[in-house]
């Protein structure tokens, strides 16, 4: 792929998001669009560790909620502005990624996954009992007033999340096409052989966990201003863990575009289903689509398209 193309697409997406805020009047669409972009970030972040490196993380909700609660604390304590919340949320989740990575990356396969699931539960229990952020009943956050050129703060959040989606996709693109991505792919294919071929496996896995965790935290940081009521059950929702795993699987885990395709398709379907049928249907849709893909197109949509186009892996 040409070097300039991803940058062009990135600028295009941002401009489109900006133009949309001038043209679209229906406020629901910003809420829905925000969620879709949020899942682009989460699915892309998950894929850096799960897809490129082959370590399945069930703890997305933990990293996401840590970003959200970092932002909550910053709002309660200092009324910190959104960019500070995002950077801090990303940093704190990155540090969590480093810590959990150091403790658990010696575990392989399913043991690593169970450890990440446990991590999310431990964090949730901790937050439930932390009075400063409202404990189990949560805390209300007042959304700031709109600032120009955006007509409402939600429009601004929508644009910010679009920008974060673009940044995370570019990071994934860079990793995939650099020596880091090739090393991660070697680890995914055969970790022992990778180590014996000179790949510093532990260091690369830590890097993947840190970058992945960081973007999950970044995705969670605008959450308080988006929902305005931050409480543990929704911040640590199982939806995040399931969706951020299912979206790359459906889109395709070996390329940066796969999680984006999966996130857009699946979260759009969920938004449509929430409005037209019922909000309880979300996970059912994910489950059915995931089973169908695992059975019929294990390489995801991107893999399916590549196969149909008869490219080298035919």
């Amino acid at each position: 792929m040409k070097k300039g193309l991803p940058l062009l697409i990135a600028v295009g997406v941002l401009l489109a998001a900006l133009v949309a805020t001038r043209l679209v009047g229906n406020r629901y669409l910003y809420f829905a669009g925000y969620v879709i972009f949020q899942y682009v970030v989460l699915a892309t972040a998950w894929n850096i560790l799960g897809g490129y490196t082959g370590y399945v993380n069930f703890g997305t909700a933990g990293f996401f909620a840590l970003g959200a609660y970092t932002a909550t604390v910053l709002i309660l304590a200092f009324k910190a502005p959104l960019p500070v919340q995002i950077v801090a949320g990303g940093l704190v989740s990155a540090v969590l990624g480093l810590g959990i990575g150091y403790l658990t990356l010696r575990l392989r396969g399913v043991f690593f996954s169970i450890a990440t699931l446990a991590l999310a539960l431990v964090l949730q229990t901790f937050v439930m009992n932390w009075e400063y952020v409202g404990g189990a009943k949560g805390v209300s956050i007042i959304r700031p007033a709109a600032f120009p050129p955006f007509a409402s703060y939600v429009e601004f959040l929508f644009f910010v999340m679009a920008a974060l989606a673009v940044v995370s996709a570019m990071a994934a693109w860079w990793i995939e096409n650099s020596w880091v991505g090739r090393g991660l792919a070697a680890i995914r294919d055969n970790e022992e052989a990778a180590e014996c071929m000179g790949v510093p496996t532990l260091r690369l896995k830590l890097l993947a966990t840190v970058v992945s965790g960081c973007f999950m935290g970044v995705a969670g940081a605008p959450f308080p201003y988006y929902v305005t009521l931050v409480e543990p059950v929704s911040a640590f929702s199982l939806d995040y863990a399931v969706n951020s795993l299912a979206m790359p699987m459906i889109g395709g885990t070996t390329t940066w575009i796969g999680p984006i395709v999966g996130a857009i398709l699946l979260s759009t379907a969920q938004q449509v289903a929430t409005v037209t049928i019922s909000s309880e249907l979300n996970l059912l849709i994910v489950g059915i689509v995931l089973v169908a893909f695992v059975l019929l197109a294990p390489q995801g949509i991107v893999g399916l398209v590549q196969r149909l186009a008869g490219r080298r892996r035919a």
Binding site: W179, N190, E192, A193, E195, C196, G198, P200
Partner: protein
């Protein structure tokens, strides 16, 4: 006599209560063709796992080119110049044959410029007669080509010491005859080779010196013609 490239001193490795290696010592000289044989379960693969860094030995010392590497992780030993092939081939399955070689060229071979990686990989494939399979996935290779890929990938790490762990197991004698000259040619370029092999015809023809392991201990060491006459070796293989 050439200097020692690899020194193994009193290496012991336990798995729980089982002593897989018990005080094994070896010296491999620069440029040598060294054979390592022994019955199944005698500790050959454990020993090279300790040498390559896949396993840590509990006691004893391993030095390579005069540096103590006992505590170094495997990838750093590979960068110093110890490369190995695996008994059961472990290719990078999602990558083409060519891309498989690019990993060690990029990560381990320090003297190869990034721009030359693909050319260098093709040159190694040509030497291994794999050049027309460069764009295939490893899953589509025959057994003998898979073994060639294992050796080619180890070569791409630009080693001074190549450890070939049963590269010929399961191959026909014609295929063995096709692989042996490749190993001889590598040795002529100055690469020291440790060959672990069950195929006696190959290891006897190839090695200048052979060490025999039995139940985790070295029971004999010497040139091939002495090893075949050694009573302890006969007993280890055939029993009393």
């Amino acid at each position: 006599m050439a200097a020692s490239l690899l020194e193994v001193r009193d290496v012991t490795k336990r798995f729980g209560g089982f002593r897989a290696l018990n005080g094994v010592s070896l010296d491999v000289r620069e440029g040598e063709r060294f054979g390592l044989i022994g019955p199944n379960g005698s500790g050959k693969t454990t020993l090279i796992n300790c040498i390559s860094g896949a396993l840590r030995n509990e006691s004893g010392r391993i030095s390579f080119r005069g540096c103590d590497v006992t505590r170094l992780p495997a990838h750093q030993r590979t960068r110093l110049g110890i490369a190995r092939s695996f008994q059961i081939p472990k290719p990078f399955t999602s990558m083409t044959v060519l891309e498989n070689l690019c990993i060690p060229l990029e990560y381990a071979a320090r003297d190869v410029a990034r721009a030359d990686v693909v050319d260098e990989a093709m040159a190694i494939l040509r030497r291994m007669s794999l050049e027309d399979k460069a764009s295939l996935l490893p899953g589509r290779l025959t057994q003998v080509d898979m073994r060639r890929l294992e050796l080619a990938r180890a070569m791409a790490a630009k080693p001074r010491l190549l450890i070939s762990d049963e590269a010929m197991a399961g191959l026909s004698s014609a295929e063995v005859d096709a692989l042996l000259p490749i190993l001889f040619a590598l040795n002529e370029q100055g690469i020291t080779i440790i060959m672990i092999e069950h195929i006696m015809r190959a290891v006897m023809r190839f090695s200048e010196r052979i060490a025999v392991l039995d139940a985790g201990e070295k029971i004999a060491e010497g040139p091939p013609d002495e090893i075949v006459k050694n009573k302890d070796v006969e007993r280890a293989y055939l029993g009393e």
